[in-house]
Symmetry: C2
Subunit: 230 residues, 2 copies
DNA sequence: CCCTTTTGACTGACCGGTTGGTCAGGTTGT
DNA sequence: ACAACCTGACCAACCGGTCAGTCAAAAGGG
């Protein structure tokens, strides 16, 4: 409460969820933080500077939340995740990226982030910050796929970077469709796992079932509408 | 030139490419159409009405362009497309959706469309028009998959609607990543075809090669940056 | 065939409301 | 005293939309 900067970041988050990016005004953020407009300009030069600081703030929160799933991350992830298996870590990472903790304002925040992403071509500073999110996901997926190859779980001839690019496409697509068409994000995850099963998992390896569980389709999932930061 | 409505639609398209949706003003459209602001309000009640008419206009153009690939479409598609094979028609349809004719303003227009899509939660009229695009793609893909199953090319146990949903996710994701990260859309298409090969194509059928050409990866495609209407 | 009226298309000037940002000054803790 | 923090009032710029009036072509009537 008594840290102005952190307080303003929280107010920006709430204002962004309530009004979206396009209709976000400095007055909205000011009211949400119980401060005056001028107080915001005391801490940040202008609106653009405030939003950039907000994106940096969200990047820190994002990496803190899902950083543990990478190859260098700490093993203590969750109950039913085998920390030694890169395949399980990859799937857990994808699920974590797609399902942030605050389920309530999930779609609202995702909508605001999509609006900001759409501003990337006009705002060079925005593009750079968004690229940091993407690079983090890309690197994590790439490393996990490489680890899976070293462990013998994944095919050797697959290009890990190519897989990471596709995962990013599906992640962005799932988020976009959640915003635009109110489709739950899990629908895409099921098909993405089909893709992983069919093109990454080495059938000759130990515990992977190649074709049976793959086509286990949930036509309209449990409406676990999580909002990803990315 | 002498049809005011069509002329304004064209001007709206150009203004949208130049300024994006967020910074699109009535003056921009007026200048692009060599008319006054008031002239626009003569033809359309307000800005929202003009944009809605524009979306309807784009829907007509879109269905005219890619409608021929559906099961009911006319067979004359292109040179090297076997009109009798639903699998080839599906892949041609996906490629057509992703690659509109006007390559020059490709990313600019796609950016504006992404901005508009992000407004769907706030503008109910926008959401309805965008849903028309999505429904058209969904139905086309569903019908083509069903046709492929009837022809014996595709597995029978696959849910066509589930496949269509995933195709839509990848299509939206590819478009979004083209806008945000300047990634060429073809990168995603290659992986999507891998998915189709692995989970739709019945290996027991005739001409489909199951595992060899599948992993033919283009790490950074020929930069054929097309802008889809959808 | 000419004159009048109507109508569709359009313009320039203008208005109310909103937004990002500034500024002079005030309060509080150290 | 001094710095960090904050406020209320204010301003220029801009945007969507309105309004009175212009103009040419079509319509209509004698």
């Amino acid at each position: 409460m008594d840290d102005p900067a952190a307080d303003i970041m929280g107010a920006t988050f709430r204002a962004l969820c309530d009004h979206g990016y396009a209709e976000l005004t400095m007055r909205d953020i000011a009211e949400e933080s119980d401060r005056s407009k001028a107080a915001l300009h005391y801490h940040y030069d202008d609106k653009e500077g405030l939003l950039i600081a907000f994106l940096d703030h969200m990047y820190d929160r994002f990496t803190d939340r899902v950083g543990g799933y990478g190859v260098e991350g700490d093993a203590e992830l969750s109950e039913d995740v085998d920390a030694t298996d890169p395949d399980e870590r990859l799937r857990a990472f994808i699920s974590a990226v797609l399902h942030p903790p605050n389920d309530g304002e999930a779609r609202e925040f995702r909508t605001a982030m999509l609006e900001i992403k759409a501003q990337a071509p006009y705002q060079d500073a925005f593009q750079k910050r968004i690229a940091r999110f993407d690079d983090f996901v890309t690197e994590t997926v790439t490393e996990l796929v490489e680890a899976g190859q070293s462990a013998g779980t994944y095919h050797e001839e697959i290009d890990p970077d190519h897989v990471a690019q596709f995962v990013l496409v599906v992640l962005d697509g799932a988020g976009a469709r959640h915003v635009v068409a109110e489709v739950p994000v899990d629908c895409a995850v099921a098909s993405l796992e089909d893709y992983l099963d069919g093109h990454l998992v080495d059938a000759n390896a130990g515990r992977a079932e190649p074709e049976s569980k793959a086509s286990e389709q949930l036509t309209d999932g449990g409406e676990t509408t999580g909002a990803s930061d990315e």
